[in-house]
Symmetry: C2
Subunit: 199 residues, 2 copies
Amino acid sequence: MSYYIAPVARLIEQFERLPGIGHKNAQRLAFHVLRMEESEAEAFAAAIIDARKNVTYCRICQNISQNEVCKLCADSARDKKTICVVEQPKDVAAIERTHRYRGSYHVLHGVISPIDNIGPNDIRARELLMRLGEEDVSEVIMATNPTVEGDATAMYLSRLIKQLGVKVTRIAYGIPVGGDLEYADDITLMRALEGRREI
Amino acid sequence: MSYYIAPVARLIEQFERLPGIGHKNAQRLAFHVLRMEESEAEAFAAAIIDARKNVTYCRICQNISQNEVCKLCADSARDKKTICVVEQPKDVAAIERTHRYRGSYHVLHGVISPIDNIGPNDIRARELLMRLGEEDVSEVIMATNPTVEGDATAMYLSRLIKQLGVKVTRIAYGIPVGGDLEYADDITLMRALEGRREI
């Protein structure tokens, strides 16, 4: 039973449904909304509706998009022969921030994770393979996260892609720039040594 | 510059305005909204608008309310001669959960904090004093938090209230039930000793 009036109890409940927001935090957020200007609350609510209704997925790369084909896929200046495969739309944003990659992307929207019952058919892997069959692609860069699931997904996809005669690469593991050897974990350090390059 | 499409960038920005939500967390919440059912997103947005528009403050106790006078103040079974003064509406909910208090409340909506430039006129202290002048009150229980600001606010108000001939009490400090003496801080332990009662 809630000791709050109905509109406040309902708002707390809505905030509690969000990932990583517990009951105390949901209360705090709800009281923050009560203190907002009415126009601010309206802008917040409108942003939720707008994002949910007007965001779709690019037919080609599966990234979030406002149109059937996203801006990056529609951009003729981008190299369509190189596809960088990532887990989530936020990974596209992260790579774009480097300003160094001029190829195109493919967003899987997840990784293969048998423990969570997520198989190849639960991520947008089929769309990637179909794309490779249709387009003239020379290299696929696997940029899934360096986790057990990310590595397994990269390995699984690379085997299928190599059968299509397309080169597959994996982003480098190593010591983060500005990092400290002393604090690097053993596996990262081992991978950094294995991946050494002549200078 | 944001590397997200406009509706997503706007939603991330809205989440970032909430207290304690940083950029990464705001991204995570925004992507959660994208994955919601449309009806869920609509319910979330409606709860924000509803709470902001239909919640007002009780004319008597200043607690959040759907009507001019809140349910607790309108309840004739509640003892109106005892007023429990708290900082926030959530404190009323916390005390109500104990099912042991049958008096009424007064919500200050803050504490006096010179360092944050919050004086007695920035909290609902005047409303409390006016209420004591109008109603027949025999005891005011100070239930502000046991912090420097909560204590100072309780002290400041108690001086003014005593001048009106009304008894003022402060909730007890001590070891929390189920707590461990060894882990109690020195001040709490000292207060627990000072507040000892015959058994």
